[in-house]
């Protein structure tokens, strides 16, 4: 057999190989199978729910100064995510409850960080992190937020950062 080694350029391996400073991955980041979203039929959010989710999206970007996502694009994203299967209606309503609860004792951006740090303890918060806040982060990054980290030479940047598991070598050839 051919010789082999263990090193790839996978999700956390990339950072770990450069000094081992990356935090231990949790939840979806641990690379396990992604759970299904809470079941829901396609449908529409209320105007109030949309406004609250926009507030959550703004709060999600705030810890990293991500502010290039427009409300119009965000609302279009919500519409597509709720009105065709798999519908995220139940996920969004769950996330609003988790977010409202976390906001009782802290600011919205602090609430987001708190959910990210402590989500592993309960299912509702874990879903809020993986299906809502995590996806809002990806949306922030894809719509220009990557520039906040000094990636100013790129027109666009999504990269591989959204993947729960490393790209398999040879998958795209």
């Amino acid at each position: 057999m051919l010789a082999s080694g263990g090193a790839g350029l996978g999700l956390m391996g990339y950072a770990l190989r450069r000094g081992g400073r990356a935090p231990k991955p949790t939840g979806v980041l641990a690379g396990g199978p992604r759970p299904s979203p809470f079941p829901a039929d396609p449908g529409s959010l209320s105007q109030t729910e949309k406004q609250l989710l926009w507030q959550l999206a703004v709060a999600t970007g705030a810890p990293w100064n991500l502010s290039e996502l427009s409300e119009k694009e965000f609302l279009g994203f919500l519409e597509l995510k709720t009105q065709s299967p798999p519908s995220y209606l139940a996920e969004y309503r769950n996330a609003l409850e988790v977010f409202a609860s976390a906001c009782r004792e802290q600011s919205p951006p602090e609430a987001v960080v708190s959910i990210l740090r402590h989500a592993g303890r309960e299912r509702a918060a874990e879903h809020a992190r993986d299906f809502v806040i995590g996806e809002f982060i990806a949306l922030h990054l894809a719509t220009g937020g990557f520039r906040q980290f000094g990636l100013t030479r790129f027109r666009a940047y999504v990269g591989e950062g959204y993947r729960a598991s490393p790209v398999q070598p040879g998958r795209l050839r």
């Binding site: 350029l9 027109r155 950062g161 993947r163 795209l172 050839r173």
Partner: protein
């Protein structure tokens, strides 16, 4: 239900699409295409959102399952996640890399005493390569070193190399090794109503059609009179009225279980390197007891692939400019070791690969902006990977399993073990990669697991005589009159290049040959259409 067509094409991948296009252009207005898989929604915004925000693979339901195949050799093939059974075929999610074979690749056995020769040469295929590049919308730079002889420029200008590849390019130059712009079916300008590549980086599922995918060709065919496509329909076997003539194909509708037949004057099997030989094996019967075209015993044999492996290493300098990979494939390649001098010892194509910034992962892990920026400035990880030619060996083969697979076709049983010569060639390629990475200033070199590239070929190989292969130089199954195969299955050797552009060149050649055969010599001479 009984169907009929003048020509029946089995498989809707790019090979089948090109053959159909040529037949329609020749005036054959009764072409029926059969596809086992389903349509995939392409260029859909919701699907794209799900790809990059939810890590959902839109092709997961359209690929092989692990249970669909058995590997019984030491070096397994992997169909799951790679080969698609869908309208448009596996190019729905390919990288678009489109390197021609080189003249010496057609004379492997003559030059080296190993493997097989092609019954045609590069000169014969060159005009069809030009057509293929036009069909695939290939961007490249004909003035780069390392290309085989060409009759014209690429249809689209090359993309500049990504900045992240500059270290690789400089190291190659310092070592005296040539590099070239990647030849890629990626739109360097808008074409066929599709956008230019926007370099968003979600290459697995492009939201704007920024590179060629097989569904684009099928959509254009579906607008033409005389073309029909049946999806979700299995081609179970061919039936023969005499040893020379297939009279009909037995079909099975996947959803309803309805059995159908299609009578056709000509059958063209465009089902890839795995399913094409399987259909001929499954069509064994009174006239062909060992499988159609298998008088040589070579049907399913000479299963050949590329060996792929990657070495990564950590750069010595911080990444203060925040340069990282943007795409899922390189924009630079080297064919320096893919030439006649390297043929006997094993040719290989080299490409650099670089890490992506894992921004979302670091944010979800709770890292602050300052921590993330510091992380991005750490010395980056570079990688160099090789794609090595494997010389065909009769001991590597596939056969039909006894049980059905997940869609109702016979399971695939693969026997593949690298030869000692291929192992030695891989060792030489590894040494080259390590030299390059060291020149790039990298340390802590580490290899990933070597694997096969899923460029499966050779299983219905071309030959002059029925004793030596399965199809003749016109891709007609030996000793039949109306059964053809067009896929990488017919390659007697695979070279070091990705196979798709060669498959498409063969498809243009076959389509024009059939057009002349069925409609007389008035079919169009080779004319390369300028892309709109």
């Amino acid at each position: 239900m009984k169907l009929s067509a003048e020509v029946c094409i089995l498989g809707s991948g790019v090979a089948g699409g090109v053959v159909a296009q040529e037949l329609l252009d020749a005036g054959i207005a009764d072409v029926l295409m059969i596809e086992a898989g389903s349509p995939v929604v392409m260029r859909d915004t919701r699907t794209w959102y799900d790809v990059f925000t939810a890590d959902r693979n839109p092709f997961a339901a359209h690929t092989y399952q692990q249970s669909d195949y058995d590997n019984r050799g030491a070096t397994p093939i992997r169909l799951k996640g790679r080969h698609l059974r869908a309208r448009g075929g596996s190019t729905l999610h390919w990288a678009g890399l489109s390197y021609r074979l080189k003249p010496e690749d057609f004379r492997l056995a003559s030059n080296t005493g190993r493997g097989l020769d092609w019954p045609i040469d590069y000169t014969e295929l060159e005009p069809y390569y030009a057509l293929a590049e036009s069909t695939l919308q290939v961007a490249g730079d004909a003035s780069d070193p390392g290309h085989p002889p060409r009759s014209g420029p690429f249809p689209l200008p090359a993309f500049p190399a990504q900045e992240v590849e500059s270290t690789f390019i400089q190291a190659m130059r310092d070592l005296g090794f040539s590099t070239q712009h990647a030849c890629c079916a990626r739109n360097s300008r808008s074409i066929h109503g599709m956008s230019e590549c926007l370099r968003i980086g979600t290459c697995e599922y492009c939201p704007v059609g920024g590179r060629f995918t097989g569904d684009q060709l099928i959509a254009r065919l579906e607008e033409r009179r005389g073309f029909r496509l049946l999806t979700d329909t299995l081609a179970v076997r061919l039936r023969f009225s005499s040893p020379e003539r297939a009279s009909f194909a037995e079909l099975l509708q996947r959803e309803t279980g309805e059995r159908q037949t299609v009578e056709a004057g000509t059958f063209v099997i465009c089902a890839g390197g795995v399913e094409s030989p399987k259909l001929l094996l499954a069509s064994a019967g009174e006239f062909w007891p060992r499988g159609v075209g298998n008088q040589s015993g070579r049907l399913g044999r000479f299963l050949t692939d590329h060996v792929y492996q990657k070495c990564s290493g950590r750069a010595s300098q911080p990444n203060r400019a925040h340069i990282a990979n943007q795409l899922w494939f390189g924009t630079t390649a080297s064919r320096h070791f893919d030439d006649v001098a390297a043929q006997a010892s094993g040719k290989f194509l080299l490409t650099p690969e670089h890490g992506f910034f894992q921004l979302q992962g670091m944010m979800l892990a709770g890292m602050s902006k300052e921590q993330i920026v510091r992380e991005l400035e750490q010395p980056p990880v570079h990688a160099v990977q090789f794609q090595l030619e494997e010389h065909a060996s009769e001991t590597n083969f596939l056969e039909l399993g006894k049980e059905p697979d997940s869609i109702g076709l016979p399971r695939t049983v693969v026997h593949h073990t690298l030869t000692p010569e291929a192992e030695a060639a891989a060792q030489r390629a590894r040494a080259r990669c390590e030299t390059i990475l060291l020149k790039m200033g990298c340390s802590d070199l580490a290899w990933n697991q070597a694997q096969l590239s899923n460029h499966i070929s050779g299983t219905c190989c071309m030959s002059h005589s029925p004793d030596a292969g399965v199809v003749d130089e016109d891709l007609k199954v030996h000793d039949t009159r109306n059964v053809h195969v067009c896929s990488s299955a017919v390659f007697p050797s695979i070279g070091a290049a990705n196979p798709t552009v060669t498959i498409v060149a063969l498809a243009h050649r076959l389509g024009r040959h059939l057009g002349r055969q069925l409609r007389g010599p008035s079919s169009p001479a080779i004319a390369i259409h300028s892309p709109p």
